[in-house]
Structure formats: C-alpha cells, structure tokens
Amino acid sequence: MDEVKDAQAGPKPGACIPWEDKLRELPEITGDKELVQRVWEDIDSLAYVYIWQVLLSF
C-alpha cells in the first residue's frame, strides 16, 4: 500500500511559519521551550487550515 509522500519543498503540511523559523527570531528561551513551540504550532496550524479550507470548502 502506497502512502502519500512528504512535502518535497516548503513547510510541512499543517504549518505556515515553521517553528524552526520562529525560533530563530526569539531571544533564548529560558522557560519551557516545548510549551512555546506547542502553542506556536497549534495557532499556526489554524492559519494553515484557514487557507486550505477556503480553497476546498468555500
């Protein structure tokens, strides 16, 4: 059974601005880095869903 291949270019599905890009803009995170990453990715994925749902559903 074939599975769909990963994206060959650009951010991975579910992301507009990848966490790695955002992290470079931030000062050193002295607190919980995983928390910051998780919240960034959760909200970023909403922007991703927005444009793809406009394309597909509206």
Binding site: E3, V4, K5, A7, G10, G14, Y50, L56
Partner: protein, 399 residues
C-alpha cells in the same frame, strides 16, 4: 421521546449506517440522503436564507431529518455559507439574492481561461510552497478585499482576514452543536466528517480552471504532475484534520472533472489516479474510510478504484451505471445512491418506488448499500417523491 430512547435510536442508526459502509448487512438499508436546497423548500426558506444564514440551513436540515426520519444526514449540505464568502470578499460565487435570484442555488463562477486564478507560468511557485502560494498569489486574486503582496495594505485587507477567520471558526464550531442537536432531537447520525479533493481536481476547480488545465496537460505536463505531487500531502493533512475521531463516518472526496471524457484515459492513469490513490491509502492506514462522491460518470475507471483495499471506500453512484458499479466493486465496497435526480424531480411517486425497488433488488441484496439520490438533492425534487423513496426503502429494505 425520552432522551435515553432517542440515544438508543441514534445508536441503532449508527450501527446500521456503519455496518453498511463496511460492506456488511445491517438490519435494514440505511437511508442517508444528501439534501441541500431541498431542505429550504421543505422547511419554507428561500435559497438565499439557507445559503446566507447558516442557522436557517441547520434548522432546515434538522427539520428534514426529524420529519423524514432519515438514518443519517449532513449537518448542512448547502455547503457554501455566503456570509463568510462575502466577509472575506471572495468573488467566485454567485450568491442567491445578490448576484442571482433569491430562489436559485449558489453558483460557482469559473473565470475565463485567460484570466484564471493561477497563471500558466506560476507552477513553480505553487510547487515550491503551496500554502504560501495560496496566501500570497491566489487569495489576492479571488478576493476583492485582499491586497496583493507588495501593494499597500488597506483597511478592507486587514478586515478580511479577521472577519474571514472569525466567521470560519464560528461556522465550523456550529457544526458540533448541529451534530449534537441532530443526535439528541431526532436520533440522526451526522453522515460525514472531513473534506478531500483530488490534486488534479483542485488544480482545475480553483487554480488553473478546467480549460487552463487542459492546455497544461499538453504544454507543461511535467509541471502538472509536480503540482499534483506537491498538493497531495497537504490535501491528505487537511482531510485527516477534519476526520471523525471515532472513525465511524467517512471523509468525503468530491470528485469533479478527473474522469473520461473531461480528461483522457492516459491523463487519469498517469496523473489523476497516481496522485490520488496514495492519499486514500494514507487515510485508510489511519483508520478512516473515504466516501467517493463520484459526481458524473466514473465507470471508465472502476478497475482503478478496485485496486484500493477492501472497505477502504464507500462508492457513491451518480450518473454511472449503478448495476455495473455493483458488479465490479460490490464485493469490495459499500455502494450508495443511484436514484436519479430527474426521477425525484419530474416523475411520480410510483415511478420512484419502482426505481428504488430495481436498485434494491440488484444492488442491496447482500447488504453494503445506502439509499440516496444520485446527486445532491436540490429544490427541484418533489417532497412526495422524497417521501416515497424514504418510505419504500424503510418497508422494502428490511433484511
């Protein structure tokens, strides 16, 4: 009806529906009509009301579900909420009561091929980063409010993102409430969850247009293939993001113009199917079925669909010969639909019952069949004919 009895009815219907979708034999044939503007006609609303005010659309869907006593429905099959499309300035719909008469269903306006939403020399940008392309190039072209990249931003530009985002959140959240109300008020199952389109279909539908894609299949075929491959992982992700967490009801793929004669057998075999099949197999590997809503006639391609794992799809028959579909796919997949919309709209209840009997006798004998019209039911269907389809199936479709 007491709440516990309504929940029992819901559970019975869910079992009936899911058993049929897994190609099994339930207690009787589930009835799951995909009813859109028909709900407005039945509930006393205009097309404008159900398209522009989703609460009225939800109300009409609940009224139909309760009165017809259907096993499963879509929470709102009038899928374009023009309140949202207006809020973000989308230009590709004719909205009832605005660009078209209030009692005409919404229309998609495909631009002329020389003014497509994506230009022929923009494939590389799409392939490089599809999401950025949609935001930076596509959206400013399809929205009257969104300013193109590099041009001064505007008040309307800024508002379109806030209004569009908030409106989408409001609309999608309301589906959760709608599903709960269908369950508690009439014991009705929400029939589907999640959306998919084939990479090549979305290229034709919203990006290059059908005529533009036809040119590209000849003039820049490699780019079309690369674009479909670039779109595929995103379409799979979006489909899974909206899937039923309980894995009961399917993700739906709305299949448009990827079949003969819109494209050639070669285009299907070399591009359409190789870039769609892995998405379906990925979805199945995550435990979700896909409902192939095969709009039009896809019978030229049944051998390709038969390559998919058993039970991985539910195949909806529109204009394709449902008896041939059953002969060639029925051992592997559940089949739905097959009652022509012209029969529901323009023939008598007796003729509806006769057609239903023919389909049930030849397609549903061993289970694995769901009663529905061929295509989405709009306001040309007669109420007495929808009742005839429903009542006949409930009486005759007992195993």
């Amino acid at each position: 009806m007491p709440p516990q009895d309504m929940e029992q009815r819901y559970q019975e219907r869910l079992k009936r529906y899911t058993t049929a979708m897994r190609n099994g034999k339930p207690d009787r044939i589930p009835i799951r009509p995909f009813v859109a503007e028909f709900t407005a006609k039945y509930a006393g609303y205009t097309c404008q009301e159900v398209t522009h005010d989703y609460e009225k659309a939800f109300d009409a869907a609940r009224k139909c579900a309760a009165d017809f006593d259907w096993d499963a429905v879509v929470g709102n099959m009038v899928y374009v909420w023009t309140g949202l499309t207006q809020a973000m300035g989308l230009t590709y719909y004719g909205a009832p009561g605005i660009e078209i008469p209030a009692n005409t269903g919404f229309q998609y306006i495909e631009p002329p091929s020389d003014n497509a939403h994506m230009k022929p020399d923009e494939y590389d940008a799409l392939i490089e980063d599809p999401t950025a392309f949609l935001y930076n190039v596509w959206l400013p072209r399809v929205s009257a409010d969104v300013a193109p990249i590099g041009e001064p931003s505007t008040y309307r530009n800024n508002l379109s993102f806030v209004k569009g985002g908030m409106a989408m959140l409001s609309y999608f959240n309301a589906f959760g409430t709608q599903a709960a109300r269908l369950r508690s008020e009439s014991g009705t199952v929400s029939a589907i969850s999640g959306i998919l389109k084939a990479p090549m279909d979305i290229l034709a539908d919203k990006l290059r247009g059908y005529l533009g894609l036809c040119d590209d299949l000849i003039e820049r075929r490699d780019k079309v293939i690369a674009a479909c491959e670039a779109l595929a992982p995103h379409l799979a992700w979006v489909a899974l993001s909206g899937a039923d967490p309980d894995k009961n009801v399917p993700i739906t793929i709305w299949m448009h113009r990827g079949c003969v004669p819109f494209i050639s057998h070669t285009d299907f075999k070399e591009i359409y199917w190789p870039t769609l099949k892995p998405i379906i197999e990925t979805i199945w590997s995550r435990g979700h079925q896909t409902l192939f809503y095969a709009e039009g006639d896809w019978n030229h391609h049944l051998d390709s669909f038969a390559e998919l794992p058993d039970q991985s799809i539910v195949y909806h028959a529109d204009q394709g010969d449902i008896f041939e579909i059953h002969d060639r796919l029925g051992a592997k997949f559940c089949i739905s639909g097959g009652i022509p919309n012209y029969v529901l709209g323009y023939r008598s209840p007796d003729e509806v019952r006769a057609y239903c009997k023919k389909v049930i006798d030849r397609v549903a004998k061993d289970g694995g069949y769901i009663m529905d019209a061929s295509a989405i039911v709009q306001d040309d269907a007669k109420v007495e004919n929808m009742k005839a389809m429903t009542d006949f199936t409930r009486e005759y479709g007992v195993y």
